[in-house]
């Protein structure tokens, strides 16, 4: 078992133990490994597995990447401030994990999908989303990811994650999504 998975299964076991302390969950329940985590693993992740109490979700590291794959337990979204097109320092570790994931296999390719909030013209926002995607591409390039394993594209304001005209909606739409297709 490689390091990240070993760490993950330990984390899930610990979480299961802690959950047991507070809510009476059986301590002998085996940890369920979530291969396609898009949020950080935790007690919720362990119990949301659909393999039942006795099943084990095996992981075959030899298989090619499925849609939705990517570094396990690492966020795939980088958010941007209003009118900003540079990657905030707080995302360094996220991009680090993605960079290592991509570099691990020469055939891996990441699509960097840039988005804006809904304000403004469609084509100009397409270009602003592109600017965000390219900022992430530059950051990954600095981490040693070869250019041929990345493509920066934009959806502009066409595919919001959250509908609405509140500052909160705007903030959740200004983003780049790292997509492994």
């Amino acid at each position: 078992m490689n390091q990240p998975l070993k760490r993950l299964s330990i984390a899930l076991t610990v979480a299961a133990l802690m959950a047991g302390c507070s809510s009476g969950v059986k301590l002998d329940q085996p940890p369920v490994e979530d291969k396609t985590a898009t949020s950080t693993a935790g007690a919720n992740g362990a119990n949301s597995g659909n393999t039942g109490q006795n099943g084990v979700a095996g992981v075959d590291l030899g298989q090619s990447d499925r849609e939705g794959a990517g570094p396990v337990g690492v966020s795939r979204i980088v958010y941007f401030d209003f009118d900003s097109y540079s990657v905030k320092p707080e995302y360094q570790s996220v991009l680090d994990a993605h960079a290592r994931y991509i570099k691990a296999v020469p055939g891996r390719k990441v699509m960097l999908e840039g988005h804006t909030d809904e304000r403004g013209g469609r084509e100009y926002n397409l270009a602003l989303g592109q600017k965000r995607a390219e900022a992430v591409r530059r950051a990954l390039g600095l981490l040693g990811v070869p250019d041929g394993q990345m493509e920066a594209v934009s959806f502009g304001k066409e595919k919001p994650a959250v509908q609405g005209s509140s500052e909160d909606a705007y903030a959740q739409n200004r983003r780049v999504e790292l997509s492994y297709r």
Partner: protein
């Protein structure tokens, strides 16, 4: 799944005219003999067309019984303050087609200005009415009418996007494309047979050229990164596009049959939304090279770009009138996005709407009207406006978001 065949429109458009113009020609459209029993009220379609142009005011002609063979009583019409009068008839033939005839009268001088006759199937009755409106418009203003032209626009409804082709009055819409992913920036080819547009169906923006009659389409720009903002040269041989293949959003020209793009300029900023001038020698475009998006122009043959907009700090979506005199664009004013028209000769700019979510202006091919999308009373709608903003008509839609209109060219008769 992408579907391509023509689909009848689900939405019916209504025309509402608001505003009062100063110089409008008063014209009476007498009901055509036989139109009460016909599939289309011909005189009503002609009247709506002429009123939407802003240059005509309809005079009440209800209840009159005239046709194209009548010798109208000019004194009676002068008394109603009509300067012109149209009479006509529509007759159903034994084979199911319709015979339509009309005559245009100069009421002031008591002169017969001529007329035409048509024999068409039921599906072409609205087109005949538009051709009658064109004839009247051209005789009385000396300019070419746009009533037989078409517009393209995009709707989003229930998570599905459709690209529609409709008559210039918004009626008879047919879907050229239906997709689960966004469609933006439709652009008519100069011969009116093709639409270029940006599609996200392959989960990145790419540019197609789509033959409207056959549904056949080809991928014209699918380079690395994003491909968008197609614009046709007036001779139909070249498209300008925005590509990010070399980093950033930059302008390129590409042969309409595809092939290697030629980069137009190099800037370290965003350059996008190109549009050709009517003589094909200049491209107007949006650039934020000065820090914020403004409209610039650059010679197609090469040379430096020159800034065109100087008021406001956010100016996008240029459209140039065919005669090169006017520039329509969207300017953000205090958070609102508003349609502006600039006299390119003097540089004078006027805001011509009182709405605050205007987008995508497009000139009619006679340069006398602009179609744009906006929101009125919380609903998205397509509007046409005269260049001074005084006469506006709403091409009202039902259901779904309506956006991205583009006005097609004059069609060959």
């Amino acid at each position: 799944m992408i579907s391509l065949p023509a689909i009848p429109a689900l939405a019916q458009f209504r025309v509402e005219v608001t505003g009062v113009g100063l110089t409008q020609l008063p014209i009476a459209l007498a009901p055509f003999r036989g139109e009460a029993q016909a599939p289309q009220r011909m005189s009503a379609i002609v009247q709506a067309d002429l009123e939407r142009s802003g240059q005509f005011r309809g005079v009440d002609a209800a209840g009159t019984a005239l046709d194209e063979t009548s010798r109208p009583d000019m004194a009676q019409w002068r008394q109603k303050s009509a300067d012109s009068l149209v009479t006509g008839s529509i007759t159903r033939l034994p084979d199911g087609r319709h015979d339509i005839r009309f005559r245009l009268w100069d009421v002031v001088r008591g002169q017969d200005l001529g007329g035409q006759s048509f024999v068409v199937g039921q599906g072409d009755l609205r087109l005949v009415a538009h051709r009658i409106a064109d004839f009247v418009y051209e005789k009385l203003t000396g300019e070419r009418g746009v009533f037989s032209t078409r517009i393209a626009y995009v709707t989003k409804a229930g998570g599905r996007y459709s690209l529609w082709v409709a008559d210039a009055d918004g009626e008879s819409a047919q879907a050229a494309l239906s997709s689960p992913e966004p469609i933006i920036s439709p652009a008519w080819s100069p011969n009116g047979r093709q639409l270029a547009y940006v599609s996200f169906e392959s989960r990145k923006p790419v540019v197609y050229v789509h033959d409207v009659a056959t549904g056949k389409r080809r991928l014209i720009a699918n380079f690395r990164g994003s491909n968008s903002a197609p614009a046709w040269s007036p001779d139909g041989r070249t498209l300008a596009v925005t590509l990010s293949r070399d980093g950033g959003s930059q302008l390129y020209t590409i042969d309409a049959n595809g092939g290697e793009p030629r980069r137009l300029m190099q800037s370290g900023a965003i350059d996008t939304e190109p549009v050709f001038s009517g003589d094909g020698r200049t491209i107007y475009f949006v650039s934020d090279r000065g820090g914020a998006p403004q409209i610039y122009k650059v010679p197609v043959a090469g040379g430096g770009a020159e800034r065109v907009t100087f008021t406001g700090n956010y100016n996008i979506s240029p459209s140039v009138s065919p005669d090169g005199r006017w520039l329509a664009y969207i300017s953000r004013v205090g958070g609102a996005f508003k349609l502006h028209v600039m006299d390119l000769g003097s540089g004078t700019v006027n805001a011509i709407t009182d709405t605050s979510a205007d987008e995508s202006p497009s000139f009619a091919p006679n340069g006398r009207l602009i179609v744009y999308a906006t929101q009125q009373q919380g609903r998205e709608a397509l509007m046409t406006t005269t260049l001074d903003g005084k006469i506006k008509a709403r091409l009202a839609g039902q259901g779904g978001d309506i956006r991205e209109p583009d006005w097609g060219p004059f069609q060959k008769q």
